[in-house]
Subunit: 397 residues, 2 copies
Amino acid sequence: MSAFPPESPSSARKVALPSPFRLQAGGVLRGAEVAVETYGRLAPGRDNAVLVFTGLSASAHAHSHPGDLSPGWWETMIGAGKALDTDRLFVICVNSLGSCFGSTGPGSPNPATGRAYGADFPELRVEDIARASQAAVDALGIDRLAAVVGASLGGMTVLAHAVCFPGKARSLVSISGALAPSTAAIATRSLQREILGSALRSGADTATVQQAMRWARKIGILSYVGTELLEKRFARQQSEPFAGHPSGTAFQVESWLEHVAQKFIRQFEPWAYWTISRAMDLFDFGAHGANPQGDAVVHDHTPSDVARAASYLRLERALVVGVQEDLLFPVTQQRAIASVLRAAGIDTEYVELSSPYGHDAFLTETALFTPVLGGFFAPRADSTPPRRRGDGKPLAR
Amino acid sequence: MSAFPPESPSSARKVALPSPFRLQAGGVLRGAEVAVETYGRLAPGRDNAVLVFTGLSASAHAHSHPGDLSPGWWETMIGAGKALDTDRLFVICVNSLGSCFGSTGPGSPNPATGRAYGADFPELRVEDIARASQAAVDALGIDRLAAVVGASLGGMTVLAHAVCFPGKARSLVSISGALAPSTAAIATRSLQREILGSALRSGADTATVQQAMRWARKIGILSYVGTELLEKRFARQQSEPFAGHPSGTAFQVESWLEHVAQKFIRQFEPWAYWTISRAMDLFDFGAHGANPQGDAVVHDHTPSDVARAASYLRLERALVVGVQEDLLFPVTQQRAIASVLRAAGIDTEYVELSSPYGHDAFLTETALFTPVLGGFFAPRADSTPPRRRGDGKPLAR
């Protein structure tokens, strides 16, 4: 039943998705798979599994393990004695469907042609990322997750998972997520895709595509990073004035942006970036309704109604975390998530942090996030069964 | 002495700059000129002139006049009975040197070659904009301005004018300006120049340059506009889903950005945009020191010292206005301007406004700005001479 040996303290492998794998917007993938890493041990009762959804650009490598000793993207939050304590929890991280670190995405070969999908990759939605990851959970033989956790895109994905699979997770943790993107976030991401898509669709040479990818990534970084942090780090220092750069200046903040963007284009597949970015802009938790069969489905053209969507959730507890300096997923959006969950009768903790790292705080501010997440995942002091608000509702109505 | 008939209620014309016109960074312009408009009448004592500096992209056409009935960019703030009351004030607006609305800029013919300067336009600084505008004031036979006024780049330019020409203006009004750009502002502007400069320097065809200009302008707009305003106006509405746009989406906010960017590229010369954008990033009020001859000069490589620079100012009064929602020129920068002016002994009023228009508020929020500017320019109730703090200091030290 399980594709993984649950006794393995940590492992990385591929999980084949059901084929055909139907996507929410109507597309189909055949022979698709996702890359999965796990940390810790699945308890005999299979009730200690936590599924971690990633941001736009991360891999399944959330933590180092014997097969890959490089630090994972959440190295400081996962591990023995850490916030996600692998002495007690079995942590699962899946590379998002549509990405490029082992999961099927636009850079993967299209079985119909033998060439990379590129522009032919079917339209991806956040819900598809949730479903592909749930397929990995199924393959692990886990009937119910202790929690789904995610930040940024991952914060959207936990909401998508919760509404697509009511009851499949007992709790959720949303960090710097959103019920739907803000208009400003759509504007800055759609501009990135316009720049990148213009190069990709024109069949431009590699250098031109890479240039577009660098520009898109720089726009993205400027939407993630806290402005005070830039001020403190770089001020107005210039490396070597007027070094012939196309900007006509050589401020250190430019060199840093270039360095980060160069690193990114060596790692990330351009169509994958474009595809997942679009999925983020199209996400709308409130679009989830019910069809006559009682399944939670998305109706793109019905008015968004977050309360209706939340009525399908079956969660015991939720933790929502926002960062005051986050301009891309502002705290107004975090408060909205908490309000919607509470209004649906879910026992919801809301925590607002302050960090100069802004939207990226969850990646770097270990000291801030550890007590918040650690507290949520700590063994409950009381021995009474947890309150189970919100799961008494009918799945369909 | 005057190139203008002061009796004219309003006029538009060109003023020739001294030739050669030496630029701060070492370059020289020959046969340069600036486009100037005036509104109202110069008083017999020539003491009612107010010089208005523009933002990055505006022309000298701040108000309609018989020769050009189209509304000016500050139509609602200038005029009989308005905040800048042309029944009492003689308002002068100059198209910035380096721009493209009649003043010499990169799109103007280089007398050495007969072709447009383009990349050969000498390095421009904000101080050069101040000096070229002051040359127009000199040509009008005005020895001392009642005030210099400006927002955004104009706010930087009033500070440059005040330190380059101590005593030439009795007061200043800085709206959403800066002693120096924030690192985040440098990052977002230098990225615009990188995109635009890459096309311009590669000798790309017109369509490619226009594409780069559109992208640069969109990045700029997203740094000006308030995020709440975008949310209210567009939310997540889509015009016609997936219309083949390179972004893969068709959100209304994208159509609006495209419309505004398309309009801009029909009006603004690409190298002028690049050149003035760079001048903004290189501005540093605190770099102003003194040479042995006692002239206020800029030393690029001495540490910035805003108090030293402010000690050269000879101003009676100042008004500093910030907008809380402005992310590009945040209120921390506005408070810093007010503090520096106060510490230099200048009678300084500081006003912080709240507007969803963010950095662009000065262009649209007439109701908010009228009482603030109107109050500053109102005839003083007391008949005692105005306090003249700050002008008793030696020019050089």
